[in-house]
């Protein structure tokens, strides 16, 4: 259950457009609070709050380099999102492979009757 809560925090953190943008920026390069605040039309405090949410969700780490404390993207968590999509894709692919089999059976069932009807409209 604790794991589920962690994942919920990741998704909740990413539900906000500003935080998603912060993640996008950090994907390119680490940035300090000041760097980030200058990029948005909101207060430093607001950005600090967003960073805190991302940090709590485990998406961002803040290293302790004296006063600078640049934020770093925790790539493992984003890999988790990719993993979810891939898992979903496999589920879907499995389902459609079952549909492939159904379509093959339909083709076998249809062929004799098609011959009998000589291409009559369905």
């Amino acid at each position: 259950m604790e794991q589920e809560e962690r994942l919920s925090r990741v998704f909740a953190a990413l539900a906000d457009p500003t935080r998603r943008d912060v993640v996008r920026r950090l994907a390119t390069a680490d940035a300090t609070l000041t760097d980030l605040a200058s990029a948005y039309d909101v207060s430093v405090q607001a950005v600090a709050k967003h960073l805190k949410v991302l940090e709590d969700a485990g998406l961002v780490r803040r290293t302790r380099q004296a006063q600078r404390r640049p934020a770093t993207l925790n790539a493992d968590v984003l890999d988790l999102m990719t993993a979810w999509i891939e898992r979903r894709r496999r589920e879907v692919e499995e389902r459609y492979q079952r549909l492939d089999a159904v379509l093959d059976r339909m083709a076998q069932d249809e062929e004799p009757s098609l011959r009998r009807q000589e291409g009559a409209a369905s």
Binding site: L80, I85, R88, E93
Partner: protein, 172 residues
């Protein structure tokens, strides 16, 4: 059956799932070696649907299946220990051989259905492309849906989640 084919003539046989960051939708694209009418029929004929829609390890019970404009459907996946996962929705529109527009809801989350549109495209040579776009109310719902494994088999999903979370994330 070949699972790895790199020739361009059979490009993209496997399903593609697109979940754009920050957008409340999931798009699925898959091609079939079957004519469009047959692929469409496999989506609306209840006797055919039960053969593929449910996960292999779960039993599927179709309780309602009225695939026409203003119709509705309901089915239940039952797992080994008898746990039931119910899915249902309203059918908004059906255009034979072209599209199905419906809602898709999961019993435990009745107020966050998705709006699904399935489009069938004739690719010629007896091939069909299926594209299904599911739209959720908001991004958070989409993400929650993606993570929960809506197909059923929740236990398995959560076990995998546990494995994933127990992995590299701990090492910081």
């Amino acid at each position: 059956m070949t699972t790895h084919t790199h020739r361009s003539t059979t490009a993209r046989r496997e399903a593609e799932v697109i979940a754009p960051p920050g957008q409340p939708l999931i798009e699925i694209v898959r091609e079939f070696d079957a004519p469009v009418d047959r692929v469409f029929r496999a989506h609306v004929d209840p006797e055919l649907v039960v053969q593929w829609l449910g996960p292999r390890r779960l039993r599927m019970r179709l309780e309602q299946w009225d695939m026409r404009r203003g119709g509705a459907y309901r089915y239940v996946h039952v797992d080994e220990d008898g746990t039931e996962y119910g899915f249902w929705g309203a059918v908004h529109d059906v255009q034979p051989g072209r599209s199905i527009t419906q809602t898709f809801g999961f019993d435990p989350e009745p107020d966050t259905p998705t709006l699904d549109k399935a489009e069938f495209t004739d690719l010629g040579d007896g091939r069909t492309r299926l594209r299904v776009v599911s739209v959720t109310h908001d991004v958070a719902t989409r993400d929650a849906m993606l993570s929960s494994g809506m197909e059923g088999g929740m236990q398995e999903s959560y076990q995998r989640l546990d494995e994933l979370l127990a992995g590299p994330m701990e090492a910081s």
